[in-house]
Symmetry: C2
């Protein structure tokens, strides 16, 4: 992982309880976006933020829970990357709708004994990733906890019209199924982290990066909509889960050619279940007629993004996996937070 | 407290882990608002919600942390009221800006061993309070935790123009300071709850209700703006804290006549520090020239809401307390979550 450019400010030796809620809010105020044409009021100055609205707004909320979504004892743990990831998980939901990011609201439940420098690094990562994608940090909330850290962001985005979005509904039998980018890296990275292993090869480092610092596919989402694609979603909860939701709505199914799955570098063809079952890859899946999909591939190519056809929508319910002509079985179910 | 009208549905004997994340999302889907002219897509169906935007949008986010903001062992604890309160704390931020509620996104971190019936009751309360104030439940997120419950809502509201809002900035020396409703009930209620005492008198019941089921002042916020008031905020973090923020911006101060504070029924005049120091009363404070304030009092009167002048903005920094002609001292500082 690249070294973070962020330098801890003075007061890094003190804890959150040392400076208190007011002190922390004042300290974090510098990270909030300043009033501008887009953001008229930032929330730290007032009870709520005020911004110019859009004709059609997309809204999402996502929480990262310590122990479940991240662990401070991971070998490569970095507050700055954790902040980036909090923004990325919400950006990925906007990407999945084909939306342009606008405003983020951030609520953090922190422990009093946490060093202020760590909160600084966390917030610097939040702001860095939001700015990179043209999203303002408009407001936030701080809570105290003696338990696991809970980091929540809500985000709004803009779409041109109510029909120019990616939705889960609308797939038709015979339509192609495609995915952006490459799959399985995030799951492979998580496996290294959970075992406490340091990444040694370039491939292993790219796996860990895919887990800790994923890149949301905002450009790809917008390009898919521009190309005429209207059915899709993000697969950060696993490809199989998203494919089930997309096909379930119309009582449809899908067949996937596992040889066509674009595996992350360093993964072997036998690793394909890793790529579809549980990997938190921040890629998009989409479904469209073959001609539309070819358009989309050209358009994404201009952004140096790949779009790989991996299967087809079937009239019969259920997902069938094929390795060439041979049917294969996938045992693993999706990851369930509560089980 | 009134009995909740909510009846637990079937499956109340099972826990969150029994039915899993998917089962819980499907189960809670019924509480989400259906696509309508206002809400075009609800998030459980897609990666994010889609709604028609407004010209000027107000956005806020607020978290309730178990042990800090509520306790399951409080004598009058009720999941349904907790859900209502989660929405109310966000509505109060909108009220503090004079905004009209629009859309809510809800993120809950729950424990696997929690009975499904409790989650049902919590969500029914969330939905009930949102609907009562014309706010849609557009989307949400579920996380697992083994620690304290964390309940977060983000909310958008609409205002007519960028200048027709209540802001903390803009107070001038000589302007009147006024508060809506009556003060101190929430703090008195919390004191009973923390001691494990049941409310016995009507007054005590109203204190506990003010703590557990506060009424956000949406109508009052809008009426204040209509009357021409432009400076204000909510005092759910304490009157003194909000007054400090309003006066701090212009390097101003305030003098408060403690005899004029509209104390909640059952409180004695000696209890006034309770009303200004730490009470989570969901009331608004506002600052305006005396003539504008009289207009506002008339307009709020039509909504059966009281607006009581309690002091005046001073050129000299700091807050001075007066009991008639006699200066009095307030020792208590605002509550700090991290201390």
């Amino acid at each position: 992982l690249r070294a973070s450019p962020f330098k801890p400010a003075s007061g890094a030796g003190r804890t959150v309880s040392d400076i208190g809620e007011r002190g922390l809010i004042d300290r974090l105020g510098k990270y909030f976006d300043k009033p501008s044409r887009k953001l008229l009021i930032a929330a730290p100055d007032d009870d709520a933020a005020l911004w110019r609205g859009d004709a059609y707004t997309v809204g999402t909320i996502d929480t990262m829970a310590e122990h479940v979504d991240f662990r401070l004892d991971w070998p490569a743990f970095d507050w700055h990357l954790l902040g980036r990831r909090l923004i990325s998980i919400n950006l990925s939901d906007l990407a999945a709708m084909g939306a342009e990011p606008r405003h983020a609201l951030v609520s953090l439940a922190l422990r009093g004994e946490m060093p202020v420098g760590d909160v600084d690094r966390l917030y610097a990562g939040i702001v860095e990733q939001a700015r990179k994608f043209g999203c303002s940090i408009s407001g936030g909330d701080l809570s105290a906890t003696r338990g696991p850290l809970m980091l929540t962001a809500a985000m709004t985005g803009s779409v041109t019209s109510a029909s120019e979005v990616l939705r889960r509904e609308g797939a038709k039998p015979g339509w192609s199924i495609a995915v952006t980018g490459r799959l399985g890296a995030a799951a492979a990275g998580l496996r290294l982290l959970e075992k406490g292993l340091k990444a040694k090869t370039d491939a292993e480092r790219s796996w860990v990066r895919a887990q800790l610092d994923p890149v949301p596919r905002i450009d790809a989402g917008k390009a898919l909509v521009s190309a005429g694609v209207r059915v899709g979603g993000d697969i950060s909860d696993g490809l199989i889960g998203e494919l089930q939701r997309i096909t379930h709505i119309g009582g449809l199914g899908a067949s996937i050619q596992v040889r066509d799955l674009p595996l992350a570098r360093g993964l072997l063809s036998a690793d394909w279940p890793l790529a579809v079952g549980e990997s938190e890859d921040f890629e998009l899946i989409c479904v469209a007629p073959a001609s539309v999909m070819r358009n989309a591939q050209k358009l994404l190519g201009r952004h140096s993004l790949s779009l790989t056809v991996v299967g087809v929508i079937e009239r019969r319910a259920g997902i069938q996996w094929h390795d060439g002509d041979r049917p294969v079985r996938l045992k693993a179910a999706g990851y369930d937070h509560f089980r």
